[in-house]
């Protein structure tokens, strides 16, 4: 759908805003997931590989 600013209605604006909010929400969840994996998951291989970074970044490590 190609819409110009001149023809945009209030409903269009609200729906665009919801789209943006949903996209931002999913990106935020993805970001938290990455932080959990690199900084918090205690699986031995992950912990050992990320050890120095976890200490330097201030995550609870051991």
């Amino acid at each position: 759908m190609k819409t110009t600013a001149a023809t945009m209605t209030v409903e269009d604006h609200a729906s665009a805003s919801r789209t943006g909010l949903a996209s931002a929400f999913f990106a935020l969840i993805l970001g938290v997931g990455i932080i959990a994996v690199t900084g918090h998951v205690q699986a031995a291989a992950l912990h050992d590989a990320a050890h120095d970074v976890r200490h330097a970044t201030g995550f609870p490590c051991h």
């Binding site: 759908m1 190609k2 819409t3 110009t4 600013a5 945009m8 269009d12 604006h13 665009a16 805003s17 789209t19 943006g20 909010l21 949903a22 996209s23 931002a24 929400f25 999913f26 990106a27 935020l28 993805l30 970001g31 938290v32 997931g33 990455i34 932080i35 994996v37 690199t38 900084g39 918090h40 205690q42 590989a49 990320a50 120095d52 970074v53 200490h55 330097a56 970044t57 201030g58 995550f59 609870p60 490590c61 051991h62």
Partner: protein
């Protein structure tokens, strides 16, 4: 400016907005993460390696013989150091994903995202994700005594989340109620208290522990300001390209 933003979003599905967030976050996180990894390698890693000499018992603090404060901790460990670079880049990609997503929401609500205020976003990010939890759980040098890791992680996530909401309130709801709520959110985790160890058993000299904490926090501050600037740069650049 405002119209351009709306047209872009209307002309594109939700995936396009998501793609803009993810693309700019990955660029920002990877490039900033690389610089941050170098800062950590130069200033934090030597202190960590020094502490590990005490953690492993190679050196003994208050042992039979005095131990020199100068130790050779230089040396390149390719696998370990490369993994640290990789995980620093990944970690800051995760943070960038959150920061850019929030920048996107703020922009939709009328805020301007620029390179300069990107650095302030970074500063707010540092306060939320690094300084706020460090107030009660300081960056841990290896070997330090600590409470159960899972409990500390729960507390860490709760503290970062409440501090992040507090930063948002201060930035975008600067009213008596907004700032009051922010102060309560910032103080609450520390009044409840972080999980602490029952006994102090750390073998590492306090001088090293203090240097480690201040180096980790200072490099963290620089890291977040770099990250904030890069996030704002790539977010606006991706917006122009769309």
């Amino acid at each position: 400016m405002r119209h351009t933003t709306c047209v872009t979003q209307l002309a594109s599905p939700a995936t396009k907005m998501f793609a803009r967030i993810v693309t700019s976050a990955l660029f920002a996180g990877a490039t900033a993460g690389l610089l941050i990894a170098l800062l950590q390698y130069a200033f934090v890693q030597p202190v960590l390696l020094h502490a590990e000499l005490y953690e492993t018992g190679t050196l003994v603090h208050f042992g039979a013989a005095p131990v020199s404060a100068i130790q050779d901790v230089s040396g390149f460990d390719p696998l370990r150091d490369l993994l640290s670079v990789l995980f620093t880049m990944l970690t800051y990609c995760g943070y960038a994903m959150i920061l850019v997503a929030l920048m996107g929401v703020a922009e939709e609500r009328g805020a301007d995202i620029t390179l300069r205020n990107g650095m302030i976003w970074g500063l707010m990010g540092f306060i939320a994700a690094h300084l706020a939890p460090a107030f009660s759980l300081p960056p841990e040098v290896p070997g330090v005594a600590a409470a159960d890791v899972l409990l500390r992680q729960y507390w860490w996530f709760a503290t970062v989340a409440t501090a992040a909401i507090a930063m948002w309130l201060i930035a975008f709801h600067f009213t008596m109620v907004g700032v009051g709520a922010a102060i309560v959110l910032l103080l609450l985790p520390h009044i409840i208290g972080a999980p602490q160890p029952a006994e102090f058993t750390g073998p590492v000299p306090t001088e090293i522990g203090a240097l480690f904490a201040s180096r980790a926090l200072s490099v963290g501050l620089a890291a977040w300001i770099i990250l904030g600037a890069f996030c704002a740069y790539f977010w606006t650049k991706e917006g122009e390209a769309a």
